[in-house]
Symmetry: D2
Subunit: 144 residues, 4 copies
């Protein structure tokens, strides 16, 4: 069994576009961040559980390649899938396509993050901690 | 027949919150703007028609009163309804409630806008033009 | 002695503009928020002091009237001044003008806020507490 | 002569931070975009010239590695420098450091862009066009 694909719909709003009438590129990173948190919620770690267990997911790096430019009014589908997982870190690939289309790809991004715990309560320094097995399984990690 | 209520769901994302863990207040205005464009699409004026007909909806003023603070992970419903309509201007009321709740109101906002046309193509000065009758009807204007 | 005017320069960035090539209006509210925190820093309450003393400044309401539209590349000056102050609440007026100009006003906004303390540490509920006299004086409150 | 370093100061605002109290990472990409446009202005291509000559700078890709996390109230310096330049494309490296510090690096990013012209006026498709020699020289391109 391979990695699971998580999907979200995103209409491209007026305010997410720039004077060229197309997506303002940092919007993709905002959406990757939101897609990641939603994916965790879908896997059993919603916001209130993350908060209650003093967990967060700080970034190591993020990147995106831009292939074509959606315009105001387009609806996008964000497809997120596990790209790599280690003991306490993981990477997700996010693909942005025209909703309802199989072929029109707008952008391809990736985020690397740490599964981490606040050491002395919210707002204190974060320290990596092992990714739970149940999360590995939910993400479709073949080694999970 | 009274004004029609338009509804949209909005999950409150991590990046829409501030260090207090609650909504960063300009997010409400971003959502009012997006709700207004979505309402126009629902009424028959989607993005591509607005573009093709050289129409836009510049603001006169906007306001919001904050009653309670949603936190990261809450899902909100935005309820938008016509508050006032003139020859070429209109005001919408936007109410933000906890999705699935009838009672928990987070905020109440209002935007006044002009129905306007670019006088010499996109990006040129905008000039007010009469709100179309079909739009008045779709909004539930009792005089429409 | 009247209220003190606090000034900040803000270039209007590409990403703060919309497909009409002008300011995306929620940007004004982001700038009002930033101007308010900067004003507090100028008055002796910078970020680290606010954090150390468990203080925050939640909003009651915010509004803005839009007079003219700056375009990408314009530099604005934000002029912030005390409009009203009570025991534990205060309102600031923010005026947005073309930098270097006395006359070209783009927008006029106002925010009402509470001077509040987290009751049991950061992220816990906030409760209004009296505005310090030194802050009243720094703001130029005639009753301060 | 090597590449020229362009510098900008950026206070980290309340609204640019997330519930962990640190920078919301897409903020870095917003700042890279703003730094790039400012760099062009410094080199002789300000917003009004870009507009008048129907030029824009669409992205090919963007990335950022996150080393340490600035908090609300920190002031950052963005240092931007040419990383690579071709006939009609160029890449900029952006480094984010604590202002006034030589050593505390928060993040290191890079953007690849095309120097492009709207083929039939603003909002129409963009096509790559040679980077002007005067811009190459201003950027400190050793081949310029």
């Amino acid at each position: 069994m391979g990695p699971v694909t998580f999907r979200q719909r995103r209409p491209l709003s007026w305010g997410d576009c720039d004077p060229a009438g197309i997506i303002f590129y940092p919007t993709y990173f905002r959406w990757m961040d939101a897609a990641t948190w939603q994916l965790l919620a879908d896997c059993g770690w919603p916001a209130d559980r993350m908060r209650a267990e003093h967990l967060s997911i700080p970034l190591l790096d993020a990147q995106c390649a831009f292939v074509a430019s959606p315009r105001f009014g387009d609806e996008l589908e964000v497809r997120s899938v596990l790209a790599r997982i280690g003991r306490s870190s993981f990477a997700l690939r996010h693909e942005f396509v025209l909703a309802g289309s199989q072929e029109l790809v707008f952008a391809r991004g990736q985020e690397s993050r740490v599964w981490a715990r606040y050491q002395a309560g919210p707002g204190t320094p974060l320290k990596g901690t092992p990714v739970p097995d149940a999360l590995r399984t939910a993400l479709g990690d073949p080694q999970g």
